[in-house]
Amino acid sequence: MTTTPAPEPEAAPAAVELHGITKRFPGVVANHDIDITVRRGTVHAIVGENGAGKSTLMKILYGMQRPDEGTITVDGTPVQLTSPAEAIKRGIGMVHQHFMLADNLTVLENVVLGAERLHGIGAKARARITELSDQYGLGVKPDRLMEELGVGDRQRVEILKVLYRGAHILILDEPTTVLVPQEVDELFGNLRLLKREGLTVIFISHKLDEVLSVADTITVIRRGTTVGTVEPAETTARQLAALMVGGELPVPGLRDTVAGERVMLRLEEVRSLSPDGRPVVDGVSLDIRAGEIVGIAGVEGNGQAELIETIMGMRPIASGAVLLDSVPITSWHTRRIREAGVGYIPEDRHRHGLLLESPLWENRILGHQTERPNARGPFVDIRGARADTQRIVDAYDVRTPGIDVEINALSGGNQQKLIVGREMSGEPKVLIAAHPTRGVDVGAQSAIWDHLRAARARGLAVLLISADLDELIGMSDTLHVILRGRIVGTADPHTVTPEQLGSAMTGAGLDPDAAAGPAPDAPDEGEDAT
Amino acid sequence: MTKLASVAMAGALVMAAAACGGGEGGGTEGGGDGAARVGLAYDIGGRGDRSFNDAAYRGLEQVAEELDLEVQDLAAEADETDADKVARLQLMAEEGYNPIIAVGFAYSGAVAQVAAEYPDVQFAIVDDEANDLPNLTNLVFAEEQASFLAGAAAALATEEDHIGFVGGVENPLIQKFEAGYVAGAQHINPDIQIDIAYITQPPDFTGFTDPARGQAAAQGQYDAGADVVYHAAGASGNGVIDAAVANEQLVIGVDSDQYLTADPEEQPYILTSAVKLVDTAVFEFVQGAVNGTAEGGTVRFDLANEGVGYSRSNTELIGEYEEQLDELQQQIIDGEIEVPTEP
């Protein structure tokens, strides 16, 4: 505290106060109407799904981006954070998820690098580092070589770096992703000590159990805005999960079963390995019939993305088989799979779904380069593609001034509508839809649901992956839960609740009841997820 | 947008016009009073290669000083096609340069075309005799004859009966040096051991400009037991001389008399040089052209007309062999010895 350059009034206003923060980017969900109050001397967690807007918020707080609207108040003083340097001056420091340390330098050198003016680079700096380390129990030895240190130690050096620069408000961005459980415990010990010494910690995460164990206050962000602030004592992981994925959204109803008997897509014991030989998809078997939507629920990173890439031929399959309408397509290339009638709405549309710097009509061609109306023989049929793009724009209500604008210029929802329209073209047999409504506004979301429903009614088989449990429950005819690359349970979407599903996703039971089908209203709510 | 573009275009045109207008009063220096202006077009590398092109430039300097003529030299680029060479020669012809000298066989095709287009301009080409035009003089050299004498000198001076040769680039020109050298050495001592090394192969011409590799090549030969090394390697030859000094062994220079350009501490190791008087050839051609006596066809510079030869500057070393070498020289001039041009 003694280091803090900014004067600290003892009246103790909130350390950080955000009001009405709004940030717009062309085409993506950013932040709007963010309201957060972080009390001094607390650990304040900000949780939300990937893509909910946490990182933008963090960048705004750290001066890397400026909000379009709203105010930021630090220690009771309204501030304009124009750069990280400005943020540091205000006492805000950031510990990045990926460490920014030079391996071949010592701890001391890493800490003083870029902050040589504060205490020089010699004995004074060393004394200061030792002092800080002792004060906050970080146990950092200034003369160790960085490459000798483990991950936990490195993270403490990062924290020390920030403290050394005079920060009294620390932002930790997903700090536990790189740590093993024991290291997580140590980190939490450090955070409690920091808190006791009067520092403020803003802790960004999507791991609910960690947040519950370390935070004093939790703010949940969904779809770019704050949806609630709770005390850990008054909440459970399930309630938090419901807040995160949106329990109160209108349910995308879909009840009457139209599923036929014909299995359009069958996975048999599909396995896929990561480059280091770990199974990331581990023996997945499932059937999707014509007119059926099969949902996969799971915490992100449990093999959903890899499962889809394996089906689409983008990732080698280690063992098992994929059958499309009874035809084995296991060894087919992506193009052949797509030509055979598999539509694909990728999880990350910017990486896998669009050519951002190309006009709409060229994006209509993408993924369907060999099919009519986009191609004629070896040539691109520009006229046909343009006409069909116009059709999609009209039918799917893509809001655009024309089909010649770069798709970059459209909002995320309109981009997604074009993708959905594209993938529904040409009467596909199977649609692989990953997060089809992520990052799109509410209007576009229900439009996309309508289109999915209509296609299902026509006999389309859909594999749906989503982080939005309401979407999954509302849209799916069958619901599987995936955990560490395995299908660990099957739930009946007619009866399951988001809370039950959230619990199953973390591996805490439910399956026996839900898989049976009949409504298990209140299964054991006892223990939290691991 | 189109408006912006047209404005920009208009701006560019105005700039261009202004640039043209600005130059109107500039004028050029000298010339114009009927005095001859001499043009010289280099091969790749141009001035500063310490070899061929530089020798030509020395001739040009001599022209400027002694004949008091305006001179101009233009260099070539590696990536140019014949079109550029033609354009270069045409430019000089159009600008009133006469005579015009092209250095190097690369100009062979271009000079033939341009000489035909400008029959009133006198042209010369160094190191090429592929063309036969009334206003084109081919200046060629009997490098093998000078090298023969260098080889003989090496064979006379060696104590180990083991000598070496370092060529810059293994092309036909340098092979002429090698052929003459070997013939000369074997003429003195048929059993002599001769090590041959080339620094690079065409089309890699860096062998003429890489002293470090020249030194390495010569060092190898000295290590193998040679005690005289002859180099025909342009600027790389400086490395050969360095190796000779380091090993306190003898070296033979090339093109110009390298004893005269060497440092005093290097001089004791320079036995002689096989001299090729490109500068003299250039100077004499210009003189002839100015006097109106230049003729088409080939002018061969050899021992007989002292266009090539060996240097006698290092009297201490070469003195004792001079008599023998002069005798050989006469035999070559008289045609009693025929020197091969290919190894």
Binding site: M312, M314, H333, T334, I337, R338, R351, H352, L354, L355, E357, E362, L366, G367, Q369, T370, V380, P401, D404, E406, A409, S411, G412, G443 | M1, T2, L4, A5, A8, A16, A19, G21, G23, E29, D43, A75, E77, T81, D82, A83, V86, A87, R88, L91, M92, F105, A106, S108, D127, E129, N131, E170, N171, P172, L173, K176, Q201, P202, P203, D204
Partner: protein, 373 residues
């Protein structure tokens, strides 16, 4: 129809306008830099430019510019094919040299009827260029070796192979009356006659293969903009991940693109070989592949843009001759060339961003605030 086309035309025009503005701006900047250097060396820039212009537009100069530009154009197209896919084919240089050598050797060894003779030579060159570039493509996909590294190495190897083959025991003969050695001269049936340029008032001839360059340009445009293959190529260049997800086999595309780039590279030496020298000798031009990189950058990989870039480049080199005549260092032109390339790259990027922002504003204005909820 009209409603649909007009925005398209308008977009086209606006992007062309921005491109022209970028070029004009960079010309002004490069001119200013050159002028500053000239002034610093004590030369009146107006005088220097005037000399360059007056010489550069003489009829014979124009012909020389067209001839040089022809070669540059093909070189730049070869590079641009790689660029379209974010492949840096630095090996164009080695590819065309090897292609020209072997093409010349085959052309000199056989005497064939006209047309067939030329076609055979060109085909050999195309195949050799494609093969040589394909090695780099294969190494990239099979072994993960950056094409930048492998093509640089392959350039050196090409030099070595040329040295090996261009000796009298193998492909070469001594050129009559010269210290030069080259492949056996191609019989007249294999020459491509020049186009008389009397209409320009010049007595030099334009390389007949200027038509080949034009065909290469048209073919390049067709390939990139009108074929499925070209779409895959551009998609891969824009986003390899999106291309892969769309079904493009990126590895195969890498190999194909390198091969096609090398095949075009094989043509680079043809105007000189079939139109002027008729043999591959020690004085065959080298380094054209590197010039092609700069010109492709300058022309923004666009078939028409590269025409202007190649002619501009050739003009600068040609007109720089006028500078040396007046004792102004010719290297000044190198500064101009470098400045133009740099400023074009920078200015184009700036203009591109402005254009995108304008488009986004237009979209926003047209759709109201239909942004994120």
């Amino acid at each position: 129809m009209n409603d649909r086309l007009s925005p398209r035309v308008r977009d086209r025009l606006s992007s062309l306008g921005l491109l022209a503005a970028a070029l004009a701006a960079s010309a002004v900047i490069a001119g200013a830099i050159t002028s500053a250097v000239l002034l610093a060396t004590g030369v009146d820039p107006g005088y220097a430019f005037a000399e360059m212009f007056s010489y550069g537009f003489r009829p014979n100069s124009v012909v020389a510019i067209i001839n040089q530009g022809t070669t540059y154009y093909i070189a730049a197209i070869a590079v641009a094919i790689g660029f379209k896919m974010k492949l840096f084919n630095i090996g164009v240089d080695g590819q065309y040299r090897l292609a020209a050598l072997l093409g010349a050797a085959v052309g000199g060894a056989w005497v064939l009827p006209p047309v067939i003779h030329q076609v055979v030579i060109i085909l050999v060159a195309v195949m050799v260029g494609g093969f040589w570039a394909g090695i780099a493509g294969y190494l990239k996909v099979a072994r993960g070796i950056s094409e930048v590294i492998s093509t640089i190495m392959l350039n050196s190897i090409a030099t070595g192979i040329t040295a090996y083959l261009l000796t009298e025991d193998r492909l070469a003969v001594q050129v009559q009356g010269s210290n030069n050695i080259g492949t056996r001269p191609i019989a007249e049936s294999g020459w491509v006659p020049g186009i008389p340029a009397g209409f320009l008032g010049a007595n030099n001839e334009i390389y007949g293969l200027v038509l080949l360059a034009a065909a290469v340009g048209v073919g390049y445009w067709l390939l990139v903009n009108r074929t499925r293959y070209g779409f895959d190529l551009r998609a891969t260049g824009q986003s390899a991940t999106a291309a892969a997800a769309s079904g493009v086999e990126v590895k195969r595309m890498v190999v194909y693109s390198m091969v096609i780039s090398g095949m075009v590279a094989g043509l680079i030496g043809m105007p000189q070989l079939l139109g002027a020298s008729h043999h591959y000798a020690l004085d065959f031009p080298v380094g054209l592949g590197f010039t092609g990189i700069a010109i492709a950058l300058l022309g923004r990989n666009h078939p028409v843009g590269i025409v202007f870039a190649a002619l501009l480049w050739a003009f600068l080199e040609q007109s720089s001759l006028a500078l040396t005549i007046h004792d102004i260092p010719r290297e000044i032109v190198v500064i101009t060339q470098a400045a133009i390339v740099l400023t074009v790259v920078v200015v184009y990027e700036v203009v591109h961003r402005i254009g995108r922002r304008m488009q986004q504003q237009r979209v926003g204005a047209q759709l109201g605030t239909a942004e994120v909820a």
